[in-house]
């Protein structure tokens, strides 16, 4: 596929006797929205971890456009524009929402953050507040992280990941731990913001309503293998997917 921004070829990964990825090959076109589904332990998060450098594949290769990124550190991969959010939001609990955003800005703003340039300047704060407003969390700017709801934490986690130039965004269960009535508004907001800047999105999700509503293509994982790779309706109708992933829910 000539327009692929991310290519994984024959990627394998085992943790002792547990196979997290077995010959996984994927090509994700630029600007697409993909979702990864599968039961717990199927290999979805392991795939995200391998793409973002948290885990190195045993064999196989992962390429960003023409650049090999297998074995690079998370920091190096992030610097190439591959960002991620986490199933459990990774935030700085003793900093306020605004300060968390300022940290993300300070890091993304330059390869060498300044030793003397104020991190909390009015200009930096205005930019951070603008981003928080875009994600509808500006009203919480002065609150500490433990005081926030799950939905606000998720949004802040994603907003921080998007502070830099984002070519690919990997969202690990963006709606887990979020109230049922907040799921669609959060996804509308996040996917809308990412599509607006043409970012390729790959998200891990258990809620099939979210999967069918937002993804253009679905990869179904089972025991470290991809057992289906197609449009959402096709994948959810697949007998293997119904047997191993959705349990006949669709």
């Amino acid at each position: 596929m000539s327009g692929a921004i991310l290519t994984a070829s024959a990627v394998c990964k085992s943790f002792g006797a547990v196979t997290a990825a077995s010959d996984v090959s994927v090509q994700v076109p630029e600007g697409a929205v993909y979702s990864l589904i599968g039961a717990n332990g199927a290999g979805k998060t392991s795939f995200v971890n391998m793409v973002t450098g948290y885990v190195t594949p045993d064999t196989g290769s992962i390429r960003l456009r023409d650049r090999e990124i297998t074995g690079l550190t998370p920091r190096e991969i992030t610097r190439l524009g591959v960002h991620r959010s986490f199933q459990i939001p990774q935030l700085c609990n003793e900093l306020t929402v605004l300060e968390n955003m300022l940290v993300a800005q300070a890091i993304h703003g330059s390869h060498t953050p300044s030793f003397l340039k104020p991190g909390r300047s009015r200009e930096a704060k205005d930019r951070a507040r603008a981003t928080l407003e875009r994600f509808h969390v500006a009203e919480h700017a002065d609150r500490l992280i433990p005081e926030l709801s799950g939905g606000v934490k998720k949004l802040l986690d994603i907003a921080m990941a998007m502070a830099g130039e984002t070519r690919i965004m990997l969202l690990d269960e963006p709606t887990s731990g979020v109230a049922a009535d907040e799921k669609f508004p959060i996804m509308d907001l996040v996917i809308g913001a990412l599509k607006e800047i043409g970012t390729t999105v790959i998200f891990v999700e258990h809620d099939m309503d979210v999967v069918t509503r937002y993804s253009e293509r679905v990869l179904a994982f089972y025991a470290g293998r991809i057992i289906a790779d197609d449009a959402p309706d096709e994948v959810l109708a697949d007998p293997d997917v119904q047997k191993y992933v959705t349990g006949g829910a669709q």
Partner: protein
């Protein structure tokens, strides 16, 4: 911190320290000079504490700075205080740059123990080299100030004013650094290293720089302490010396720069008077004082200003 507050603080500190040069009796001026010099070493530890690391081995740089001062003034005949301290800072900065990247990969007790181990290696080595005085150490010649060679009260005042000027300048620069982009990233490193790495910053790099800054401050503190005392010995690198720097850093907390120097002066005062009145049990009083601060002000003396401001704001809103 706003620029107005920063400048105001620097001006107030300068005025206070200048007043000290006139008002303080000899013994208090010496005590304050030593406290300010040691406070700089603790300020370096506070810089690392902001990133979640506590060094139990800052005696290493304090001692290197002191021995560099002793050796270049005795061996090379260099007595100018600026030159002596700049060379000491350069040497400790270089040594810090050598160990910093290695130590910055460690966290918690491992970092603390490794830093302690390095300082104790230096202690043991110095104690076993008779050429540089062994356990007796070395005497240090009195410093000169751009060719001026004062004696008595004038020498003490000159030393005091030099250290005070450096404290104001370095304190201001460190405040700017704590509030800078890097300072903010250091706070984030303490909170969540995974997040920082996934934002694209190197936690190791951030902590290595903080370590090097602390080494340079340690070198300056050691050099000026050696010049003030007129003598250095391996005890400068002993673990109890490093422990005193940590004590001051914990007492001050990570929020305030002036609190570090206030805490250092408190320690010196307590030590001096306790030694006088109950020489064998003064550490008990010191330990009790630290425990009280930890329970009542977990973020240190520096949090007093923050807590007062918060109370005032709440009062205004109500």
């Amino acid at each position: 911190m706003t620029p107005a507050l920063l400048i105001g603080g620097a001006v107030a500190a300068t005025a206070l320290l200048l007043a000290g040069a006139v008002l303080l009796p000899d013994w208090a001026m010496f005590l304050t000079t030593m406290a300010l010099a040691k406070g700089l070493v603790s300020l370096g530890i506070v810089g690392m504490m902001r990133g979640g690391l506590v060094s139990f081995g800052q005696g290493l740089y304090y001692c290197i700075g002191a021995y560099v001062a002793a050796m270049i003034s005795n061996g090379l005949g260099v007595s100018d205080i600026v030159l002596v301290t700049v060379l000491a800072v350069a040497v400790t900065g270089a040594v810090g740059a050598m160990f910093g990247p290695l130590l910055a990969t460690y966290r918690g007790i491992f970092f603390a123990m490794l830093s302690l181990a390095l300082s104790m290696v230096l202690y043991g080595t110095l104690a076993k080299i008779p050429a540089i005085g062994g356990t007796d150490g070395l005497n240090v010649a009195s410093p000169t100030f751009l060719g001026w060679a004062p004696e008595g009260r004038a020498l003490q005042t000159g030393l005091y004013l030099y250290v005070a000027a450096v404290v104001v300048i370095v304190g201001t620069v460190m405040r700017l650094h704590f509030d800078s982009e890097r300072g903010l990233i250091t706070l984030a490193v303490r909170e969540n290293e995974l997040r920082v790495e996934y934002l694209g910053a190197s936690t190791r790099n951030a902590m290595a720089w903080n370590y090097v800054f602390a080494a340079m401050l340690g070198g300056f503190g050691g050099a000026t302490a050696a010049l003030a005392l007129g003598h250095v010995d391996p005890e400068f690198a002993f673990w109890t010396t490093s422990g005193e720097f940590v004590f001051v850093a914990i007492l001050a907390g990570w929020l305030s720069v002036p609190a570090v120097f206030v805490s250092s002066i408190i320690l010196e005062l307590v030590r001096s008077f306790s030694n006088l009145y109950f020489p064998n049990t003064w550490q008990i009083f010191l330990g009790g004082f630290l425990l009280a601060v930890i329970f009542l002000l977990p973020d240190g003396l520096g949090s007093l200003a923050r807590n007062t401001l918060r109370r005032l704001r709440r009062g205004t809103k109500a």
